[in-house]
Symmetry: C2
């Protein structure tokens, strides 16, 4: 039996990712496949690396895309830096910090967890006791997709390096949505995903390793446990030698290449400002109808808005009505936030005035059907005010 023709419904992806793919990226995906050692493809890899360095704001030679999703990037950074028995500190304030603990333990790390309540961020003081034990690596999530928390990195980095450790940063949802400075902040290893603020489908994980991190990788006593993610071999394919490792995901690479062109055409600062503006409008709109954020004040990500589901409102029904009637996807809560939180994404190409206004209008309609009390006023009017 042959499955039916593929006719995806038209969606507005306003959840925690994937976000809407930019039309130019969709077109890039459909361009003709070439060989993974074709001179054109090698040039494409060069261009991609060069643009990725600009977006990461780094000079790191070892900047490239892992052939897997963001979680593969997490695993790649961890397994290359960690050897069995190494001490690693992982900061956990949501699902993705928790995932990093699991990944690190599977790599043989002795993990010390530092925890904060979901939705909150870490200060250098929070890490001090764990840093006193002189870990090899400290892992932290810059944009916790499960809570919408925006972790400041610079001060943490200083404390981590004073303790002689390497800093590993999860930037899956961060990259392209908020300012991020790999070199200025002295980040040793970082990974992201294509399906958040880069407006590209999921499937690749941009990563970067500092020269100091690469020294650690190159002087390992044991082989990296993953052949597929071994960055010493990947460096030979993405570096000047171009030694075949695995077959690069050609068409997805086209997609990421075009996505990086788009963000550089707009300019990083303009892109961050756009994310901020649309977030402010959404926030004003939600506030007008009494919907509050779940994230620590002052540390709310513009691209991922985690808000309390109002009391008496049917979580699943709101989400399914938004999806079926308007084609709008928003995210459910994960883990500790399950059933308590909605996650509204304004990421990359999806961070647009039109999306903010449509979403608020649709949400008002759906909430009205559930006899929600609009005590304050119109969300759309409030959002519009911020654009004036």
């Amino acid at each position: 039996m042959i499955a039916p023709e593929l006719h995806p419904p038209v969606r507005l992806l306003m959840g925690p990712g994937p976000s809407d793919t930019h039309p130019r990226v969709l077109q890039a995906l459909a361009k003709g496949t070439v060989g993974h050692l074709d001179p054109f493809y090698l040039e494409t890899m060069n261009g991609l690396q060069d643009m990725l360095r600009q977006v990461f704001r780094t000079q790191n030679p070892m900047t490239m895309a892992i052939s897997g999703t963001g979680s593969a990037g997490m695993e790649a950074t961890v397994v290359n830096l960690i050897e069995p028995g190494d001490a690693m500190v992982v900061c956990v304030n949501g699902v993705f910090g928790g995932r990093m603990v699991d990944v690190a333990e599977r790599a043989g790390a002795k993990v010390t967890k530092v925890e904060k309540p979901w939705g909150h961020v870490f200060t250098p003081e929070d890490l001090a006791p764990a840093l006193a034990s002189k870990p090899k690596v400290v892992g932290i999530v810059m944009a916790e997709t499960s809570t919408g928390a925006h972790q400041p990195i610079e001060a943490i980095s200083k404390a981590v390096h004073e303790a002689g450790a390497l800093l590993l940063v999860d930037a899956v949802t961060a990259l392209g949505g908020v300012p991020l400075e790999v070199d200025a902040w002295n980040i040793d290893a970082i990974y992201s995903g294509t399906q958040k603020c880069l407006s590209c489908p999921p499937g690749l994980s941009p990563v970067s390793f500092s020269p100091r991190a690469m020294e650690v990788v190159m002087s390992r006593k044991t082989k990296v446990q993953s052949w597929y993610l071994d960055v010493s071999m990947l460096a030979n394919y993405w570096g000047q030698n171009r030694v075949y490792h695995h077959t690069g995901p050609i068409n997805m690479t086209y997609g990421l290449y075009e996505a990086l062109r788009l963000i550089l055409e707009e300019g990083l600062e303009n892109c961050f400002a756009r994310h901020k503006k649309n977030h402010e409008a959404l926030r004003a709109g939600l506030a007008a109808i009494g919907i509050r954020y779940s994230t620590q004040e002052g540390h709310i990500l513009p691209q991922l808005n985690a808000v309390h589901i109002p009391e008496g409102v049917d979580d699943a029904k709101v989400r399914s009505t938004l999806l079926t009637r308007f084609g709008i996807e928003i995210g459910a809560g994960l883990g500790a936030f399950k059933g308590k939180v909605w996650r509204i994404g304004l990421m990359g190409y999806g961070s647009r005035q039109a999306n903010v206004l449509l979403f608020l209008s649709a949400l008002e309609q759906v909430l009205a059907e559930q006899d929600y009390l609009f005590q304050h006023g119109s969300s759309v009017a409030a959002a519009n005010d911020t654009y004036v």
Copy 2:
């Protein structure tokens, strides 16, 4: 600096893969991204799994696509079945058997290598001494992409199971090009790639685990070393529970879905016959101009033709002229075959009469420029004869 617009040259991919992507697959890649838990996407996954079972000829519930290339599939099958200290036998007669040894050792396996010369295949007798030591897993490559050798699986499988071991098969280049029977041949774990005979770009790895293999996975004493490839968790996402694991590579999944539709529309037997027919034509053409195969007679893959580079001919110049003048990519030799062998792929959509005839015509022109002696006659005429 923004890298230039993406204009891939038009290529005819007649190397060891990636092969030419079918136009319908390219179109599928460009369809609108939906969420990884969207009801439509879950249906797409169901359809993909159902079609993949037909192509693998299996009833295995645990049949799905790993979010990485074929090498990630290799790693996924190995790391799920192997716990540190487990004995594994790996059959090595080319690059990919060698790669499996490396992957298995990194997973903590005690590996026994069984070797045959490059281009040759294994008999059950070749494995007997290694099987006597009662390994847990035996790994073998069905279609050795580095040598064009077509490994018979059925008799090997019988010997492996009589020894109480699990059979792990590399079908990266095999799937869709030659008959393959996961259930009838009692294969316990198998992986493939999208970029060979499935006419899809690289980026996903179809895999299947038998119920017996899944029992072994589910009764492990240690966690799978890779979080990303842990099939017990992947089973919860691809199975009925649909528990979020990592974000599925939506658009690549569309591509594989359409590729599977194409192969089932044609019919597997017709597809195999087409591969065989075009191989015979190519072979007759090459024979007519004195070019011989590098692979053991009787075990030549129709989809991957590894042939000796004629003496006095400049390997690199022939390949680069084919590429620049005709847009035809063929593969260089790898490892022991470097500089000695060309690898000519007739895979999936690329296995067409037109490609065979164009390639032979182009090759004749390029060889003539190198003063090659055409002792026997015209390759094109000989190829045409086989189509009559």
